[in-house]
């Protein structure tokens, strides 16, 4: 790092700053930038490449050399990652659908309507964005066990709906506040009630904001570990990250299978990220008040 800064200074010369024109001798600065760019990217990718390589390599010498995509099939069936992924998908669908719908409705109320207690209620939701899972998971377990909700999809999903609704309300309120008032007035003059205004006017034009919310909630839910760990003590209902953690705890052998499982668990979010990264980065930077 210090070497890079030093080199940059040398390249720039003492009398010039980093913001010099493109023409003269910024070649050194550019060269150093490329080295840092590539070096840093390789550091970021290194561990990812390690796992993918391991997932494709044969477990034993007897399996022969070369790539072994068979590991993924083995992880899917023998490692039961197929089951874990199915559970994760089910939980994710419940949380994403419920949290998005509820957040759209509450964000609509906060963002476009005036009513008594609006400020207080909104701060109540903001509070939830910061509350760490650790503190709520303990009483949730004992209370939901009393209600018979542990070891059910609901027990895993509902606490996550609540967390996501806190953020989603904040996020959708911000969107609804930016919508054009005259649009709402025009729709209302045409005789549209508040429901029509929301679902037929505001939601269709709010698709970018909603897409970002859906992606973030999907990612948080898919990657969540503590809630499924605590809420499904019987071990019948395992989400993908939980299955992976327990697989690692159970087998000291089978590193290729473990690595293949790890790739499978990461894959859905990574694929969605690569396709829609703009939404992810924007959402995670703008929505930074969460956590």
């Amino acid at each position: 790092m210090s070497a890079a800064t030093a080199a940059r200074r040398r390249g720039e010369g003492p009398e010039t700053g980093p913001a010099r024109g493109p023409s003269r001798g910024s070649a050194a600065h550019r060269a150093v930038s490329y080295v840092v760019l590539v070096g840093f990217a390789l550091l970021a990718l290194g561990p990812v490449v390690t796992v993918v390589a391991e997932a494709l390599s044969p477990e034993r010498a007897a399996d022969g050399a070369g790539l072994r995509p068979q590991n993924f099939a083995d992880a899917w069936v023998q490692g039961r990652f197929g089951d874990y992924m199915a559970t994760s998908a089910l939980v994710a669908v419940v949380v994403v659908v419920a949290a998005t719908l509820l957040s759209i409705m509450s964000g609509y109320a906060f963002g476009t309507m005036e009513f008594r207690g609006r400020e207080v209620l909104f701060y109540l939701f903001l509070l939830g964005i910061m509350v760490p899972t650790e503190v709520v998971v303990v009483p949730l377990f004992f209370d939901l066990r009393t209600l018979g909700l542990t070891d059910t999809v609901w027990g895993i999903a509902l606490p996550q709906v609540a967390q996501s609704v806190a953020f989603g309300t904040y996020w959708m309120r911000a969107y609804f506040r930016t919508t054009n008032r005259s649009l709402i007035e025009a729709a209302r003059l045409d005789g549209a009630g508040p429901h029509r205004v929301l679902w037929s006017v505001l939601v269709p034009i709010g698709r970018p904001a909603i897409t970002t919310l859906v992606l973030l909630v999907f990612m948080w839910t898919w990657n969540e570990f503590l809630i499924p760990l605590v809420m499904a003590p019987a071990g019948q209902l395992r989400t993908a990250p939980l299955g992976l953690a327990l697989f690692q705890g159970q087998y000291t052998q089978g590193t290729s299978l473990l690595a293949a499982g790890a790739v499978l668990v990461a894959l859905p979010v990574v694929v969605v990220y690569l396709v829609l990264q703009r939404h992810f980065i924007r959402g995670m930077l703008e929505g930074a008040v969460r956590e």
Binding site: L124, A162, T169, I184, F225
Partner: protein, 291 residues
């Protein structure tokens, strides 16, 4: 909304009701219950006995809990301060460099943010393993004497876990800071250069004040993720060797669900929550005041 028909008095509350119900039942209520639990000696099975502030006193006096909070502080250095320093230098270098491939770079360095922490932990366990990538690299350059079981060694386990956090956070912080720096008008740097300001001075006098909001967001996000580290410790070390890598979140889980000390666990959770709120408040206060 002004001029709303009287029939709509209840409308905002109806839109809010579903979100508020789920949020209240699965987040606010458990939060209050956690506070209640924290004043009891409760093993999760029998009726608890009230113990006043004893569980909170234990956070200060219990060696194990004090150590856990101490480890969290060490992790803050690795999750937050180190990425901030690295990110500042990287962003300062890259934001004015006329290099191609910045969007691809952003995609790559942001990737660790979207991968499930459990998967990250599995990958890094392989890197730190006795026959893992790190030791292979050390042997390849003749530093055999340095090889060790990184996660099993009292001296290296906590920094090793911390560096995983550095790896996860640095990309996010860099992308954030680059977004902030891109906002600073180039002319300011040109003027500063003409006045003979060194790059270091430009960073201190121009860049840092301009990107204070981004620094605040970066610090808030990363400090809180350090304080809430759970999956990473659960999968990489299980708090070991000994108790050299336990953290508050891990203590909440262990005490509530393995040791049957539910009241103590709740107290740790409440303290953690207060810390998270305090970090949010302090970082943003400082950022606001100095703007």
């Amino acid at each position: 909304m002004r001029g709303r028909a009287p029939r709509g008095r209840a409308t905002p509350y109806l839109f809010l009701a579903p979100a508020l119900a789920v949020y209240g039942a699965f987040l606010l209520y458990p939060l209050l219950r956690a506070v209640q639990f924290s004043f009891y000696d409760f093993d999760g099975l029998t009726v608890g006995t009230p113990v006043g502030l004893a569980n909170y006193a234990a956070v200060l006096t219990d060696a194990g809990l004090r150590a856990a909070f101490g480890h969290a502080l060490v992790l803050v250095v690795f999750f937050s301060l180190l990425p901030l320093l690295v990110g500042l230098v990287l962003a300062a270098l890259l934001v004015r460099a006329r290099v191609r491939g910045l969007p691809l770079f952003r995609t790559v360095v942001f990737l660790p943010q979207v991968i499930a922490m459990v998967v990250v932990a599995v990958a890094w366990r392989r890197i730190y393993a006795p026959d893992g990538t790190l030791n292979d690299l050390l042997r390849a350059v003749g530093l055999d004497a340095l090889t060790r079981t990184w996660l099993g060694d009292y001296a290296t386990a906590l920094p090793a876990v911390g560096l995983i956090g550095t790896w996860v956070s640095t990309g996010l912080v860099t992308v954030l800071l680059m977004a902030g720096m891109a906002r600073v008008p180039k002319e300011l740097y040109e003027a500063a250069s003409l006045d003979g300001a060194s790059p270091a001075r430009q960073l201190r006098a121009l860049t840092l004040p301009a990107i204070r909001p981004e620094i605040a967001v970066a610090l808030t996000l990363t400090i809180i993720s350090a304080l809430k580290t759970f999956d990473l410790v659960y999968v990489t070390t299980g708090g070991g060797p000994g108790t050299s890598t336990t953290v508050p979140s891990y203590e909440v889980y262990r005490r509530a669900f393995e040791l049957g000390e539910v009241g103590a666990a709740a107290a740790v959770g409440v303290v953690l929550t207060v810390l998270v709120f305090a970090v949010n408040l302090v970082v943003n206060r400082v950022a606001d005041r100095q703007r």
